[in-house]
């Protein structure tokens, strides 16, 4: 946590007077020639979003292989593919990887790429912290995965309940890797949350009131607030566990009066908001896609937004439904049963709104649309089985069975991941400049839907028959054999559908060379990010748009006639942006975010093996923080020629004019930034 604190030392660029000269530290990287270096030191939110997505897909393949190992082991009774120890590690790492290194970062990828575009900003509020967040996530994720190379992964389940997670029961270093890796990833989430919250609150383009923001942006805001408050609770719990394991503290040492319920409570106070912060980005994405392909405005915009906010609040009051069998007493059980029933309401509101959006629409069944409908249906199944958990007696029966596994895969895979898949297909042209093949995409959807349901639907049955989770094998003769085989077949079909998607990426890229470019608006979409050329240029918007209503872009293209028919009033050519970005001043790249981020795993290895490494990592981190705080606001030559920014005309209103009284040419940042867009001034922080 302390890592972000020196942030206020960062000297905001641009409001430096001509007298300000940076201390004698490394200059910022000039945009380098080699392509890979531009990615390492970039602070561009779009590139960071793409890197988040790429890393998440990489971890998805790892987590998916772990899932296949689990299913292969359970193919038949008394499976011998994995030992009990390995099986424990595999399912723990599968859960941890999928939650922290796949679903959360894919959400972060879309938030990073889309949210600034949707609010008409040129970048996030703190571009360097944004880069730091990504590298920190990657450093934490890779650190976690290296546990496989150094003695095996964590083996206590993704929640690592105490005292099972203590040294006595888990003597290897797997849980230490889990602890430290997730603390590092937590730093990434926390800094990311601060960054994106400030961005939404502060950097909206003119006219973009909170209630004119696209729903995805709203859901991002709610998600980031959930992260902001949930991550420190997990970090606190993990610090306690780390001190127990590495420094022999007594937090979960039952002999000294350590209370395992403390861990459970802390973990689930984090863990349940976590569930919502994984699903809300997908909800937001679906709310973007459905109106486009139903060719209708979203039904009940404010209901969807407010129910998202309600989920954000109520998500904090349901955590103990994970603990109904832990002996928390009848009053707690009743309370949390009721709150769990209540939280189904705002979620149901969303489902209803999406259905009503489809009602009477001119539906276009493209692949993003198919995946969106897949989300609605699959999530509804998962949501309904979720409500059955609110009935405590039934939950007691279902606890730790495959019924639970079925439930959360329906909401996380059938819900969140179907939404993400749809959004990949939907936003691919905006991000990479070519459309993914539709025919393959639709096949992809049907294969994935089939594989998904074959894998997880039978788990409902298995669970109600009494098959326990997290047990590496089962005996024949309990009626588990058949459905386990179905699940395993389904899992491999699911894996094939993921392979199809990855194949589609490369196949479509090759094919795209002989196809016309998709243009800025291939789907005839509604929100302003589709005004920008595809792929989105580095400067996002030039000029910055002014928004007057929800679905601004749509109403620039279409108008309602008196008899409620749509008429096209402007062609795409007229409403799309064409500027070459000349004169837009963007934040310069920086060496420090990646250096600071990769100092953290060094410290973490030090904590596990030898404290000397901590010293090395600490030194690197200190140098990086001071280098960061004191580095000049701009790359050498980075601002030249920018004095004639397109918005210079209203530069006189800039809040910087007082500070930037020096000549424009003497301080290349002051003139250019004051002119181009004062909002960027703060961004360099």
């Amino acid at each position: 946590m302390a890592l972000t604190e020196p942030q206020p030392l960062a000297l905001p660029a641009g409001d430096g007077s001509a007298a300000f000269e940076p201390l004698g530290v490394l200059s910022r990287p000039v945009r380098p020639k080699q392509k890979w270096r531009t990615w390492l030191f970039t602070v561009d939110h779009k590139r960071i979003g793409v890197m988040y997505g790429t890393a998440a897909i990489f971890f998805f393949v790892i987590g998916g292989c772990e899932a296949l190992l689990i299913r292969a082991q359970l193919w038949s009774p008394r499976g011998t593919l994995l030992s009990a120890e390995t099986y424990n590690q595999v399912f723990t790492m599968h859960g941890t990887t999928m939650v922290f290194l796949v679903v959360m970062p894919v959400g972060a990828a879309f938030a990073n790429y889309l949210m600034p575009l949707q609010i008409g900003a040129r970048d996030v509020a703190f571009p360097r912290i944004n880069a730091f967040s990504f590298w920190c996530f990657l450093a934490g994720g890779l650190f976690l995965q290296t546990s496989w190379l150094f003695g095996g992964g964590a083996d206590g389940g993704w929640f690592n309940y105490a005292p099972n997670s203590g040294v006595v029961f888990s003597p290897g270093h797997g849980i230490d890797y889990w602890n430290l890796g997730l603390i590092i990833a937590g730093v990434a989430s926390l800094t990311g949350a601060i960054n994106l919250i400030v961005t939404v609150l502060n950097l909206r383009c003119p006219g973009m009131d909170l209630f004119k923001m696209p729903i995805f942006t709203w859901m991002t805001l709610v998600t980031q607030f959930l992260l902001l408050f949930a991550i420190p609770v997990l970090t606190c719990a993990q610090f306690l566990l780390m001190f127990d394991r590495l420094f022999h503290a007594n937090f979960f040492n039952v002999q000294s009066g350590g209370n395992p319920l403390l861990w459970e409570n802390l973990f689930w106070v984090f863990g349940h908001p976590e569930v919502y912060l994984m699903i809300l980005p997908a909800f937001g994405l679906v709310s973007e896609m459905l109106p486009v392909f139903a060719r209708k405005p979203i039904f009940g915009y404010s209901f969807i937004v407010w129910s998202g906010i309600a989920i954000g609040f109520m998500g904090w009051g349901v955590w103990a439904h994970h603990m109904f069998v832990s002996g928390i007493g009848p009053i707690s059980v009743t309370t949390f049963s009721l709150t769990t029933m209540f939280i189904a309401v705002p979620t149901g509101v969303k489902i209803l709104n999406w259905t009503a959006t489809l009602w009477g629409g001119k539906l276009h069944f493209t692949s993003p649309m198919l995946f969106s409908i897949g989300l609605i249906t699959m999530f509804t199944i998962g949501g309904l089985s979720g409500v059955t958990h609110s009935i405590a007696p039934a939950d007691t029966q279902q606890h730790d069975t495959y019924y639970i596994v079925a439930h959360f895969h329906y909401v996380l895979f059938g819900g969140a991941f179907f939404g993400f898949m749809g959004a990949f297909y939907f936003y691919w042209p905006k991000v990479f400049g070519y459309l993914l093949n539709e025919r393959l995409g639709k096949t992809n959807f049907w294969v994935m839907l089939l594989g998904f349901n074959l894998t997880f639907a039978p788990m409902h049955v298995l669970g109600l028959q009494g098959m326990s989770r997290r047990i590496y094998t089962y005996d024949g003769g309990y009626g588990f054999d058949f459905w386990n085989k179905v699940c395993t077949i389904g899992a491999f079909i699911l894996a094939f559908s993921v392979a199809m998607f990855i194949f589609n990426i490369f196949y479509s890229k090759v094919k795209a060379k002989s196809l016309p470019p998709p243009g800025p608006d291939p789907w005839d979409a509604r929100t302003i990010e589709w005004m920008t050329p595809s792929p989105t240029p580095e400067w996002n918007y030039d000029p910055i748009p002014t928004v007057t209503r929800l679905d601004e872009f749509w109403y620039r293209k279409y108008a309602d006639t008196e008899d409620h028919r749509l008429v096209r009033i402007h062609s795409l050519e007229e409403v799309a942006q064409h500027s070459d970005g000349e004169g837009v001043h963007l934040p310069s790249p920086s060496y420090w975010p990646i250096i600071a981020a990769f100092s953290l795993p060094i410290i973490a290895y030090g904590l596990i093996y030898t404290l000397w490494l901590c010293l090395v990592g600490g030194l690197v981190l200190t140098v990086a923080i001071f280098g960061w705080a004191l580095e000049p606001p701009d790359a050498p030559g980075g601002g030249h020629g920018d004095e004639h920014g397109p918005d210079d005309a209203h530069g006189e209103a800039g809040e910087l004019e007082s500070g930037a009284s020096g000549s424009d040419t003497a301080d290349e940042t002051s003139g250019a930034e004051a002119g181009a867009d004062a909002k960027e001034v703060e961004t360099v922080g």
Binding site: A2, P8, L11, S17, L228, N259
Partner: protein
């Protein structure tokens, strides 16, 4: 140039004036710090809860924090820490007036008061260990050292920020229009003080 700007301006915009302030009127850095501090509340919340749960050790596992602390000593060091909030306010006021001499004085005073507090904590910890309450002695000792230690680390980070500001100021790199940097460090500093009031109440005052 004016023509170019007109041509590139968003022609669909009813009022082409682009607002240069942030939407909230609060600068990004300051809002970022506020949001960060909100998150910190939950971190300390978790640690304080842990301490409340474990404030007495299991019988036979060494003294409880209550049996070893010196309320007078900690009250004095707490008072010094709270006074550092006053000097911090004075530092912010000084730079806003453009009084760089007083800025440096008050920054130094704040850092000094903070350091005294941390030194007091180090002395206190050492004394406790000598009285038989080590980090691993009991659940209460673990909870006590972790909670107060986390706070101590936060104060230390604050001192490092203050000293960095002082050095910047001495080198002439902290002009008036950067007053907000001092203010944002001040926000952090006050937060750390407020948290100490809670911790002092929970650990030292509640019977």
């Amino acid at each position: 140039m004016a023509e170019i700007s007109m041509a590139l301006r968003d022609e669909f915009s009813p009022h082409a004036h682009i607002d240069h302030d942030t939407n909230t009127g609060i600068s990004n850095t300051k809002l970022g710090m506020w949001v960060f501090l909100a998150s910190e509340c939950l971190l300390f919340g978790g640690l304080i809860t842990t301490y409340l749960l474990y404030k007495t050790p299991v019988a036979g596992e060494g003294p409880s924090p209550k049996q070893v602390y010196d309320l007078g000593f900690t009250s004095v060091s707490s008072f010094l820490l709270l006074m550092s909030s006053l000097t911090m306010v004075l530092a912010v006021a000084a730079i806003e007036r453009g009084d760089h001499h007083r800025l440096r004085t008050w920054l130094a005073a704040t850092a000094l008061l903070g350091s005294t507090f941390v030194a007091g904590q180090v002395y206190e910890f050492t004394a406790f260990v000598h009285e038989g309450m080590g980090y691993t002695t009991s659940r209460s000792s673990s909870a006590f050292y972790t909670l107060t230690g986390f706070h101590g680390v936060h104060v230390t980070v604050g001192i490092i920020m203050l000293v960095s500001l002082l050095i910047l100021s001495l080198r002439g790199k902290l002009p008036e229009h950067r007053a907000e940097t001092v203010e944002v460090v001040g926000l952090y500093w006050h937060f750390v003080d407020v948290v100490w009031i809670v911790i002092f109440g929970v650990v030292y005052l509640i019977p």
